[in-house]
């Protein structure tokens, strides 16, 4: 039985919404930004720092991986953040009945039989439209912003997991929300949860 759903997603694809819809329909807990508070508490880092760094590889922030940032055990702030993230996600998954968005949760939980790993992506036009209309995005170059966001997520995923972000074999299901529709994506995932052993 699968009672933990991880959702990885391209920025603007609607993966967050899919996660919320699934959690609501199944009566599961929903973790996205909610997880930041827990990681901050576990690591002793500020919520602001966790929020800005939890999905980005060390190389994208020079202060997070330099020698000056290391503690007595030689751990960088990035190492501490990653360890806290692993602990928090494993604790949440242990309780079951939850949806976790982002933060390499698919990789962190890859040996657990009760986890369904999902990846949501969408074409560029769909995503541009969503970030402008839904998030009130005012950036003049939304496409550039989307590409940069995806690149950072991809680099972070590669750094910590040594796997390729968005490679089908790392997920049980991947869906193009721009063709299938956000509501239908949620419906398909709920159907899988309710019908596989």
């Amino acid at each position: 039985m699968k009672n933990v759903i991880t959702i990885s997603r391209e920025f603007g694809s609607g993966g967050h919404t899919v996660g919320e819809q699934i959690a609501e329909k199944l009566g599961y807990k929903f973790y996205d930004k909610e997880i930041i508070e827990k990681i901050a508490s576990e690591s002793g880092l500020s919520q602001k720092y966790v929020n800005e760094n939890a999905e980005y590889a060390p190389g994208t922030n020079i202060f997070s991986y330099g020698f000056v940032g290391r503690n007595a055990l030689g751990e960088s702030i990035s190492d501490i953040l990653w360890q806290a993230q692993c602990n928090v996600i494993k604790e949440i998954a242990q309780e079951g009945n939850c949806v976790i968005v982002g933060r390499c949760a698919d990789y962190i939980l890859k040996d657990k039989d009760n986890v369904l790993n999902v990846f949501i992506h969408a074409d560029m036009d769909f995503r541009i439209d969503r970030i402008i209309n839904n998030y009130g995005e005012t950036n003049e170059k939304p496409e550039k912003r989307l590409i940069t966001k995806d690149k950072k997520r991809k680099a972070n995923y590669r750094y910590y997991t040594d796997q390729i972000w968005g490679q089908a074999q790392n997920y049980h299901i991947t869906l193009d929300s721009s063709v299938i529709g956000i509501d239908k994506c949620s419906e398909i995932i709920i159907d899988i949860i309710n019908n596989i052993s």
Copy 2:
């Protein structure tokens, strides 16, 4: 409306069976080996040659890409085979109401709005079990055989499409048949075809 379904698949994952089930339920034509005869006829190459080379990159067969194999236009046998494959797949798709398994059909038809691209994969144990039980595979090292087959398909896909085989963004849906089940995979795809505009 989507009335052409392409199925790319890991060897042993059941992608062929998923394709057959979908075609039967929707009353669509089914093309897998059936396509070889058409490519042979289009290219003037033998069915045996097409069968042995249509899913493998030029580098895997030294005779197919050498200078000696080129015609007066400088085309290698591989180039001729690829061109014939593109023509045949586009002709089939033009007629609509069909399922096409393998042969980079997702890439060849990537600009067509009426095409749904699917990728089916599965874990190693599931695939080993299937090739032994369903195909009477007697090789002593089925895992090695599976890895070799996948590597060849991956190399061929990369050579002709410059894309990564199994990268979620190249497909509208990817499914792990070892977790979701072959019948359920077919059911999900049929549901998508019947319910998206």
